[in-house]
Symmetry: C2
Subunit: 365 residues, 2 copies
Amino acid sequence: MSWILYEDDLPAVAIGAAILGTGGGGDPYVGQVMAAEALQAHGPLEILEVDEVPNDQWILAIAGMGAPTVLFEKPPAGDEPTRAFLALERHLGVTSAFPCPIEAGGINSLIPIAVASQLGRPLVDADGMGRAFPELYMVTFHAFGQSGTPACITNEFGDVVILDEVHDNFMFEWIARGITIRMGAHAFVAQFPMQGKQLHQSAIRGTLSLALRIGKAVMEAGNRHEDPVAAIAQATNVNGYGRAFLVMHGKIVEVSRQTVEGFSKGTVTVKALVPNEGTLYIDFQNENLAVRNGSKEFIATVPDLITLVDPTTGYAITTERLRYGQRVAVLIIPAPQIMKSAAALHIWGPRRFGYDVDYVAMTAE
Amino acid sequence: MSWILYEDDLPAVAIGAAILGTGGGGDPYVGQVMAAEALQAHGPLEILEVDEVPNDQWILAIAGMGAPTVLFEKPPAGDEPTRAFLALERHLGVTSAFPCPIEAGGINSLIPIAVASQLGRPLVDADGMGRAFPELYMVTFHAFGQSGTPACITNEFGDVVILDEVHDNFMFEWIARGITIRMGAHAFVAQFPMQGKQLHQSAIRGTLSLALRIGKAVMEAGNRHEDPVAAIAQATNVNGYGRAFLVMHGKIVEVSRQTVEGFSKGTVTVKALVPNEGTLYIDFQNENLAVRNGSKEFIATVPDLITLVDPTTGYAITTERLRYGQRVAVLIIPAPQIMKSAAALHIWGPRRFGYDVDYVAMTAE
């Protein structure tokens, strides 16, 4: 059933989306400010469940793209994603399309709220990743054979580029990434135009509600001085996701990070607070990809959600904020079944990121 | 007055365009094949003078873009520039636009012939460079304040990208170059949409006729066993261009060349055949930019046309064909006045290419 999102919900959405963002998806604060400005101006926002979207209703997916680290130095003007949305509508010759998040995570759960609010249209409670992933073809929409194009890319200077047609979604990612790099390593994209009938088939459902639920649980645990990690575990156990579980309480002892080809790539090393409980190595490409132990054995990999949170507040630590000496709780949230089909693992399993291992499903011990 | 271009004229156009291409503009042979196929299929082509184009007639400029060296390994499919043209027309909501070359030189004098012929429309006898230059904003259209966008870029895989809006023409070049690099360092562009009234103001006139005239002169000199360099000198002396003059008969003793940022950049060293007549250094970025002598003093720079030709045939040697041991005649063709205004020198004078010298007009001694 459709529901109403209020400005007061945004802090919780931001907290939950950052946890689902598994280190990526951009700093949620920037998106929260954009969404709050829009809801202040236009009032509460109607959120539609996937099954409420009519078969012939047009949907455009909305995302920020690039290296999240760059957003600190290059804040958005605020209207880029809506301009991308409208330019793509014009190009397609459609009107009244509904926005949908491309991913659940960080800025990219909040930007679509700003877009829907600015347009005065409902937002779809779904996405194509069920978490954050670094590349545009890493979506269930692609797994179900949909083209990312026509798509539209904008930046804060008013530049508008339309990818009219590409021969496959890997080329879509390749060209869009090239444009994003030339736009200063961050841009906004409207993409994967589809109708309700395609959305029904391919969307990961209820991920905006899930972000809100996780965020509320973290905030309530904070108010009650309870363990936020336990609250996250309780909150994630819906929509097919598993209970989040703790792998380690530790301290960051090393961060290596580079901005490479428009991505923020690196490895963070976490040492257990309890002596002799070992070390974890967490690789990231915008998002956390894999956790290995001191013997370099894999503890968890994509598509399961690997999230570092502040152990006292439960707030996620995005990869651009990782720093030496930080206390962290390393959590795994088991992904739902739709993210672990053979077609889905082909898109975002560990081998796609260059790891020579098969995906092994994680469950709480 | 309008005139008719026949398939039999194409070898002469290719020879002349390569000479105006000043080492760049791409290997004319590839464009000649594309133009010949089109004229065989569709018959002779009507060529319009600038003043014959009505004020409200739409014009789109057509070009190959990227590192010409790449065309040897990655030949065009043949319909890319026409697809770019039609996609841009659709985007603009116009029909029946006329193609116009963006530059006079190499493949880019011949591709527009193929496009006009495939479309069944007349081609405009003009361009925006009066020679070949390496970057998209290096056109008189830019000097007269016209935007390069909306523009459309295509490649041989059917990928189509539309640059809808950019905040200036330097960003246009920067983004289009990024897309071209990701398309494999060569692509085709339809750009600078304008109407007849803008064309009348900003075009460099008669450069297709000039290419044909130069090419015919070279071919006739060859048939009569006369000096082709003298024939070129005679032929260039129209439309405000000066008589071509010879700087050196020499031998290539070194070629350094790299494909950098989507350009073919380097320096060729030419030693005089006659002992003690010295050495010339010719820098290029796709096109030849500057000639310096053994004391590194500038002999000539952009925008004057620096062309290396085979001294026996008079055929231009494009930068991708330069090789050790080759005999060459180094020619300078003084550019016409429209290419040497303050606004024009700001776009393509020696300082634009990083040389710390002002342009000094060349004339035959």
